[in-house]
Symmetry: C5
Subunit: 97 residues, 5 copies
């Protein structure tokens, strides 16, 4: 699971029928070197600019809202807060987004 | 899920019987550092040069058109449009393809 | 499976219903180049600063405590000790956390 | 799925009983930065030097010849030909093997 | 599947009940850039310094000895020998361990 920021959306009319109704958001990982953007299906009503929890891999198909869709990344939560131990803060810098 | 560009095709006569009829396309990721090409099975009729949605991992076997094929990357949509929030555009540059 | 250090926690009120009650910890891999932080669900009562065993991918859903949650990284053990063969120690340096 | 070149073989007498009879080949990815070698089980009769299609992850267990073996990479085809669109050729250079 | 070298062991008293009895070894990949260490469950009686075959991902749960344990990397064989085609040897150098 990664903490990401929602930066945009993508639309596709011609797609797998099991993707009908899926809200596809573009997210950027906020920590570490994983700077690569991902397309994640949103199931919790996330908006542009929000910090979200994103799961990847087969687990992305096991979200409550829509089990079994051909999705390999899902937004499963909207971050309220993050708490880092005082002596760890220097190793845990947010990517400059 | 990644946004990729279709750049070519690959043919293999001698292959797993469950791959018979699979249309194998070569795709290049368009964003971030994931420059590595992938071979993805196309189930939505994508053409060379088109921007497509590609899923990877076990989920690639769960596409409607052909469940259970020994495929680990599938094209599941053709991109109509992408919308990036104004203040995020600088972090979301398209790879120079 | 990776050896990681627990460095913090993350809270999300709005989330997948199957994540209710999940204790989400921020962990940093301790060895090799995998410096990227992960959010892992804790099922063994790990605390900040502890060295833990973290599994990733679909296997993270197969922990005894809570099978089937939409989780792709889980803490499955708290490290007591690590033993490295004398002549291998130089190749196995702990990341400076 | 990746296009790889078969560069060698590996033998192991002491192994998981479900690996009995598996032909384990060493393959090198031919395109992009994925220079890392892989051990893949061969199910299509590939030989040294041949260009092959390799799938990785759980899907590698879903090949027709031997479902369920503890394998995470399988050779599922022998490449006949590759066609790259004229204007994409510069981005799709073969690794110097 | 990767060829790795066993370099140590890790112990954890407080762990998932399904990990009871699992022999957790520290292994280092021997080829390519995958220098990152892994913790793999050993099911074939591997010892320190031995070259072993390691599978990762969900497949690691499908070993004969203990199906379904929350493991994402398993040792499934002990390497007898490796044969690399003469003209490929320069691309297949062993990591300096």
């Amino acid at each position: 699971m990664k903490i990401c920021k929602v930066v945009g959306s993508v639309w596709a009319t011609k797609k797998d029928v099991k993707l009908e109704g899926a809200k596809l958001m573009i997210v950027m990982p906020l920590y570490g070197s994983q700077g690569d953007p991902l397309i994640a299906a949103d199931y919790v009503g996330a908006g542009i600019g929000e910090r979200v929890l994103v799961i990847t891999g087969s687990t992305a198909r096991f979200v409550s809202a829509k089990e079994g869709a051909p999705i390999d990344a899902s937004i499963v939560g909207i971050v309220d807060s993050i708490e880092i131990a005082e002596n760890e803060k220097e190793n845990f810098s947010e990517v400059d987004l």
